[in-house]
Amino acid sequence: MAAESDEQQMLRVKAGDADALTPLVERYRTPLVHFLYRMVHDAATAEELAQEVFLRVYRARSSYKPRAKFSTWLFKIATNVALNSLRDGRLRRAREVPAGSDAAGNPKRNEAAGEEHERLADVADARPTMEQYLMERERLAVIRQAVEELPEKQRLAVLLHKYQELDYREIADILDCSESALKSLLFRAYEALRIRLKPFVANREA
């Protein structure tokens, strides 16, 4: 017997079988939390928002129509949840703590995300020197900052394409644009990143 598709499982949720949501939560929790983490830069907040996304999926079950892939619908909800969360300013204020900000209130470039620090610290023992650890930390902070500084739509396109590996049709649906426009959007985003991260790209190629 063939495994049920995401859409079939969601239709079961719609029909009143709340347990049918469990496999969907299992399947999508990691990509969803990763996506939200890259949007909000805080692991605990990303998990909380991911829970909120599944809660919204459950609330919207009666209106669910399998017109598109379930993942498209899920990431569209996740995108809205993340943008709303960022726009309400709470997360931004939490991230821009005075110790990590310059006089203009902008985060310093060497202020890496706390979660990345912790993960690097976990594996720091495997690294030969503290200097290398700090360089890695700095490097990740610069990459993160470069993506964060992209215009909102370009940033979302990169996160959904590069990290979530959704197909063009899905990303275009989530961002409300044509596939052709999405391909151009992605090109411009990667071009901007190529310029901003040129030293890293050059070192990699050397």
């Binding site: 949501l21 939390v33 983490y37 692991a43 990459i143 052709s180 391909k183 990667y190």
Partner: protein, 164 residues
């Protein structure tokens, strides 16, 4: 292929998602165009750099947390549903009581001074007339009904004696 690669060709080429004919055309162009070749190589290197940014680990209790939130919401909706029915019931009872108060004529007061109780029949009739005034039906017709009015007595002209 004229000029350089088009914007919308670059990322699908890197992803290996171009149709075979287009893929071959792009490769022919890259073989001849150092500028586009360098750009493609740089972008490929960039995608490798971006790989270094890993996602966050998900806590093992995540599915249970989602389930709890859904159950809490379902329970909350259930409670709010019961509350709504209780509220609607109370409102209906209140409306019914109000209706009875408005429609029901005032009941005689059970206690009072003897003076108030002992009313003459005339007084009672006057009060009833005030409470339930007589409705004159077809008032227009009755107003012009001559029989209701006594016609004014006709004055007889004084007798005149005709003088000669």
């Amino acid at each position: 292929m004229d000029g350089h690669l088009r914007e919308e060709q670059v990322v699908p080429y890197l992803d290996g998602r171009l149709a075979r004919e287009e893929q071959e055309a792009v490769e022919r162009h890259l073989a001849a165009c150092a500028e586009c070749r360098t750009r493609i190589e740089d972008l490929r290197g960039l995608l490798g750099v971006l790989d270094e940014w890993r996602g966050a680990d998900v806590s093992p209790g995540f599915p249970a947390a989602v389930r709890q939130r859904i159950e809490a919401e379902s329970a909350s909706v259930g409670r709010s549903g019961s509350w709504s029915w209780a509220y609607a019931g109370a409102l209906a009872v209140a409306a019914a009581v109000l209706l009875v108060i408005i429609v029901q004529p005032p009941a005689p007061e059970p206690s009072g001074s003897p003076a108030e109780i002992t009313q003459t029949p005339e007084e009672t009739a006057e009060e009833m007339a005030l409470v339930e005034p007589v409705v004159l039906e077809n008032y227009d017709l009755l107003r012009d009904f001559d029989l209701l009015f006594e016609p004014p007595a006709e004055k007889k002209p004084p007798d005149k004696k005709q003088g000669t």
